[in-house]
Subunit: 250 residues, 2 copies
């Protein structure tokens, strides 16, 4: 069933109706060609999921009758913020799309020394808007009950201060080469349920020793993610899978 | 440093030379423009890694002097065979590329009922050859010491018989919906180190209940991979990350 995220604080009560507005109306009525009687799922800001039936529609709004309301638990009990160096091509899009499927709470992109790509300041807002769209669409498809946030920070020092977290790791190849393999597990073991984890990843070119120093001075722990070299856009997927496995399956 | 997999059983002994032949010669000399004195890494069939210096070269062969030989342990201690329904577009390529980075021992693609794509029999060999190339190139980049195999099986029943394994799971959405979340952990706990795991994933359209029945009758365990819906090409990455996390970090 098609799923939409409600952008305003709408209360969904079984048997009552609500007015659907915004992009979802266009998508449901025009793209999906919904007719009165058709159903879709609507996720509220409070993460409730309502199954709704289309009652009547104009071009800009639709009246939807609520059939049922549930509160599925599909979000990671450890909110994970994925911070990545700006990458070229569609790598940032891939990180957001797959990372959303794997349960990320949000994504932060940052400028750094070895970044192959730079986001021109005048294009930044447009890029973030596009990534936010990708996150929303991936969240719908993976039946999430929240849309991950997407934001930008100019550098690592600012990022560590600006992004709230209770624990933080940076994936560092040198760590892995030196045989470091217990930091991620330790961090997860010590992190209380519900507290956010900030996980930082370099761009294709990696982070510089100076950048790693900035991070460790700020309390971020270098962590190895196994003995194989992963590309910049694969490492965040490994981390998210590991957190899900640890918190949801083990 | 550029890395090449040796295709024939060449013994690498420090200070001695060997003849490099095949595709690697073309790539190293013509694409990378190697000159005498330049170095590269050469992985033997026995998974030793030799650093070699180019001594002399013709168009078809190069003489390489071995500088050092190491035997890095970068392969998963649980060989994982990833079996996926044939997918459309570049999804099979993505599975092979990223799955190789994440340590897969091999990939098997199979035909099934809800597959959106079919491999025409006359194109199958070409598709497999292309995927094998992608696996090799990803194995070089991720510093693996083996190239994952790529093969095809006509259906699930044949696949389960043909692919050697000591344990097997099938990722099944319905399993996850019913709250199944301990099978993968149980399977990993019971599987002796070194024994191969076969992990089966449906195509975009999923597997049919009859296909799941065929698998369970053959001893394959349905396993949930957390409460979020993953796309066909993301689920294998989750599983490989989870196996690495469990075997290499925990």
């Amino acid at each position: 069933m098609q799923r939409y995220f409600l952008k305003s604080a709408i209360e969904v009560v079984p048997e009552q109706t609500f007015e659907l507005t915004g992009d979802a109306v266009h998508h449901w009525l025009t793209v999906m060609r919904a007719q009165p009687g058709d159903q879709a799922e609507f996720v509220t800001i409070a993460r409730d999921v309502a199954v709704g039936t289309l009652v009547t529609a104009t071009k800009a709004a639709a009246t939807v009758q609520v059939m049922s309301v549930t509160t599925p638990q599909v979000e990671l009990s450890t909110p994970v913020m994925i911070a990545c160096g700006v990458s070229k091509g569609d790598k940032t899009e891939q990180i957001v799309q797959r990372g959303t499927e794997l349960g990320a709470a949000g994504f932060v992109f940052f400028d750094c020394q070895y970044a192959v790509a730079k986001w021109a300041p005048n294009k930044r807002a447009r890029k973030l808007a596009r990534l936010a769209k990708i996150a929303e669409s991936a969240a719908e498809q993976s039946h999430r009950t929240m849309v991950p946030t997407v934001s930008y920070q100019p550098d690592l020092a600012t990022l560590v201060t600006a992004v709230p977290h209770a624990a933080s790791v940076v994936a560092w190849e040198e760590s892995a080469k030196q045989g470091e393999h217990s930091q991620l597990v330790q961090t997860l073991q010590q992190l209380p349920t519900g507290e956010p984890l900030l996980a930082i990843f370099g761009p294709e070119g990696g982070l510089t020793p100076a950048e790693i120093e900035t991070l460790t001075a700020a309390g971020v722990q270098p962590a190895g993610l196994g003995p194989r070299i992963m590309r910049a856009e694969t490492a965040p997927l490994y981390l998210l899978s590991a957190v899900s496995f640890w918190r949801e399956l083990v």
